[in-house]
Symmetry: D2
């Protein structure tokens, strides 16, 4: 079987350089180009690349994707900052290149994606759901974007299923004790030296609890998701938003 020809854009960055190594180590892939800032996209066309892994910046990503789509190169995109306008633009470009696939993923960690998916699926079946995220103390925002997103997915799933509000008999509380309220889901943020990035979803019903916990210890955790996306984007034309759509959850 011939190998998938892959290029990495943003190859000098923290995640990009890791992606270069991951593609090189994959038995079924060949790294045909690794471009950093200032390198010309034109070299891509000559390389016979089939999939581009796009890990640059919001300032560069649209130009890069325009080029890829025009040349029928599939793309797996980790760069952030997606507005509705940008997504609409992408869809327009893709409509002119019907065989080309683009995967944009806000999070390439399979563990994080499954945590959110499972939380969303389970949320309607339990009376109570809370989210706890735990990070190193250098983090500037609380709660984390992932925790907020998880809570929103939970709230939306419960709303759709017509769940009652969560039971909570609290009468007297210290300020902040019950966490932040994200669409009715309490979210608690812990900051502890020695931690990296962790999240726990606690679901409780009559006589039982279900806990889903994700521990992220290194950004190398993005690599399996990037490789999985790279393998599947070639047979998934059009725009896909979120790695969860590439996971078989049956």
């Amino acid at each position: 079987m011939s190998k998938l020809r892959v290029a990495v854009l943003g190859a000098k960055g923290r995640i990009g350089s890791e992606a270069v190594r991951a593609v090189e180590a994959a038995d079924d892939m060949e790294l045909v180009a690794a471009l950093g800032r200032g390198d010309k996209l034109e070299t891509l066309a000559e390389s016979g690349v089939q999939v581009v892994v796009e890990l640059t910046t919001p300032a560069s990503v649209m130009g890069n994707l325009d080029f890829c789509i025009r040349h029928g190169i599939h793309a797996v995109v980790g760069t952030t900052g997606w507005s509705d306008e940008r997504l609409a633009q992408l869809n327009t470009w893709l409509s002119g290149s019907p065989g080309t696939g683009v995967l944009i993923a806000p999070n390439f960690s399979i563990g994080a994606v499954l945590t959110m998916k499972f939380a969303e699926q389970a949320a309607r079946y339990f009376e109570s759901v809370e989210v706890v995220e735990l990070h190193h103390p250098n983090k500037a925002d609380a709660p984390s974007g992932t925790a907020t997103r998880t809570a929103q997915l939970i709230a939306e799933a419960r709303r759709k299923a017509g769940c009652a509000p969560q039971p909570d008999a609290t009468v007297t509380a210290l300020d902040g004790a019950r966490g932040a309220d994200v669409d009715g889901v309490p979210v608690h943020a812990i900051r502890l030296r020695g931690l990296l990035a962790h999240q726990e979803v606690l679901l409780g019903g009559e006589g039982e609890t279900l806990t889903i916990r994700h521990d992220s210890l290194h950004h190398s955790s993005f690599m399996p998701g990037i490789l999985l996306g790279t393998r599947r984007v070639v047979t998934t034309p059009g725009l896909t938003f979120g790695l969860e759509h590439f996971l078989d959850l049956n």
Copy 2:
């Protein structure tokens, strides 16, 4: 809206008496009969019952279901001991009463069912998977039936997806340190005073881990699953085996 008319068979048992209370407490149900050992099934027919919750014994269950199916009464069954012969018999009976539904569930705990389902779905996406079950020290078997079943589902999912064997560089080990081997999945059983029934599935990949934990604190945890089954069996003709088929996991 008219209420669902429900009867409980085995109503004097530990789970049965709990089911009686749960049906009585449900806004959308009416308890029309609660039969114990020796009570006549004929009273059921007169009660206008729509769904029977069957929580008796392997010796009684076939007779009860024969009666129910002949009278077009749906059934939600927690009684155990299902052989292929019994299931085939049930299917034969049901083919003669095409509108009637029977749900048999080895486990009515939604948390336990979701733990198994999520473990099965996630198993192929991680290099390593192990199962830890924790129970009170009066338990006679190790590992628990649920843990063994969970490990088998994991192994089957990995086999189908063509996963490599789990990495394990162990060269010297004390006997038993690495747990029991269930189809290639290590399973560890902990027995501790103060515990009831708990299970943890640990999944590990490059730079991250995902943990799914179920804590069962009381057999009241079966009630939400019994009620859910009762509501859905009326619109699900034929035989359904496993509560997971009644959960919407999209």
Copy 3:
């Protein structure tokens, strides 16, 4: 060896009736009296009782202890509501009966007492410490009294050791996300159906974390502490406040 002669006051209460059974089941103890509301204390004197387990109410406890101390009966006290005045009164009474011991314990759960003790001991050796308590959703206060007390003990230990304030780079936060501030220690309260009473102390330093977790599943967890107190109070004259003083932690 002759058995320890024990009486239970408040023997009809939830904890008291459990204590009656625990004393009866203990090989080295004999239950000589079990008094409920309205029963006369005088019967105690005739019973030859050596230790009274006092589990009544703040309204009764002082009268009961006055009687015990005057008769040289040791006491193990679970009743709450201790002011400095009451403790001073007790000490005065005890000074007149120098061989008599009284143990007052706000918490008889050995697990809870050890959690607090270990948290206090470890607190000075880690940069970060946070407390998470998890309870059933019918609880009226947040955080729990135990969690608040634990945080205060941690804060006091860190102050004594001259620890720096905890690192926390949070710049933008949702209200409540970082928990309640108890003397500089963040405390988070989770309310979940299916839970009973649980507490976790998380300590983090460079490259490592230490977690101490207590799960209380039933008030029978008070019994080992009550029995331990009963055995040791007979050789510990005077007033002891807190079960931790009866634990050998070397």
Copy 4:
């Protein structure tokens, strides 16, 4: 206040180079020498060093400590391989230099040391105790040395306190399900990609459990213990074995 003058031996090694940085970063210390393989010890004498951090090899450590003790230099030693003979030799040397202190620590992680200490202290107060250790799958031995040592400390504490054997009604078990038996304490070893080094001690009694968990994410976790040892060894003449003796646990 004048700074403590510290030298690192084995300064080029993985832990040694980290120790160099940690000493340089400490406000109350001055790094006066950092010696690698082949560097002459004599330079130490001239440096006015007060404490040597010894992180070399079993082949070098005795020569290094002989030199230090003869020159009245205190030592904090992480090098392993200590026999009774070697310790006796050290004591002989130290008896000739009564003001000099040597700390040998098999483990400089404060979290690991506290986990063992707390497990040892709590062990006698619970009916059941089990140890679970979790490591990356490249580890060659199972269970880990730390887990085995922890189980031995627990077993010894229970023996001294006259505890009954642990309750366990297991009648039928798969091979290995109940873990390895270390002096009567079950020990379970989990190997999972994505993990580093983790250990959990589970203690269970009537109605409650206590869990002590240590997560080690990086060998930088040894640094606070090395610095603490360095500060305290100057006022602790003679041989101290184990960092726990330098922790204030009251």
